[in-house]
Point group: C2
Chain length 130, copies 2
DNA sequence: GTGCCTACTTTCCTTTGGAGAGTATGGGAT
DNA sequence: ATCCCATACTCTCCAAAGGAAAGTAGGCAC
């Protein structure tokens, strides 16, 4: 089981605090529930429109959908294509950068899928201990 | 570049909606800024006490530190060992499950490290477009 | 005119999160 | 005996984030 250090020892140890801070900020931005869920939806279904995305990501409010998509666009993760027609038509898709982040998150999805039961068991054990 | 489907096609396609909902909930719980940062801190520094963790994770409030650690303990990600001495001494460490999640997040750290510049560039481009 | 369509905004209100002070405990210093 | 300290919280108060629902724009069908 490799750790970050074992995979990229030199790069990791060589980080100066300034870069580490930036990485932490980026992680804080990107390690967000809605961002992850949107990344997954766009990865799985390809180009989507606003309403479609709101259906694909259950529980997201329009406000958060707009907000998260904008932030992802600003970060270069999604491409936003506006067709100047009426009624409005806006298509969202992953950029190469977004796809690579989606792949980076792949391990987390697999982990969640594989360990659902363990987490569930731990929770009930914890709750009955109280 | 493998996608989720290519790595685990059968398991992924076979998910019934109920399981997918649970996975989404688990992702929502775990894809949290503080959880990721704590996971990283514990992975890198091993067993730590409360005050140490608050120093290792810059910007976290005591409230969020307590809260996040409790949630992680409940999910079986961290082990909380209380030594009944005075002043109090509580040691936190990753469980096997926590370590495996830390490894799953490894790709995201590497991605962030590798793509900091691209994201930064995209942001300034976006901001000057406005 | 009325209503419809879509992608947002806006408003209002609840929940979450941060800052800082307070708590409990016994041991060591004075 | 009294004071102070260390540690891991816990509480209170306030600001910020987030959700629900209604509103907006503007061309088109009726």
């Amino acid at each position: 089981m490799p750790s970050v250090e074992k995979i990229a020892p030199a790069a990791y140890e060589a980080l100066d605090p300034r870069v580490e801070t930036l990485v932490n900020e980026l992680i804080g931005r990107v390690a967000d529930k809605w961002t992850m869920l949107l990344l997954e939806a766009l990865e799985e279904h390809g180009t989507c429109r606003f309403t479609r995305l709101s259906q694909l990501v259950p529980g997201i409010s329009q406000k958060m959908l707009t907000q998260t998509l904008r932030a992802m666009e600003r970060d270069g993760l999604v491409d936003r294509k506006v067709h100047p027609v009426v009624p409005p038509k806006v298509e969202y898709s992953l950029t190469g950068l977004g796809q690579s982040l989606g792949e980076a998150f792949c391990g987390v999805w697999l982990w969640a899928e594989a360990n659902l039961d363990r987490v569930e068991a731990s929770r009930t054990a914890f709750d009955t201990r109280e």
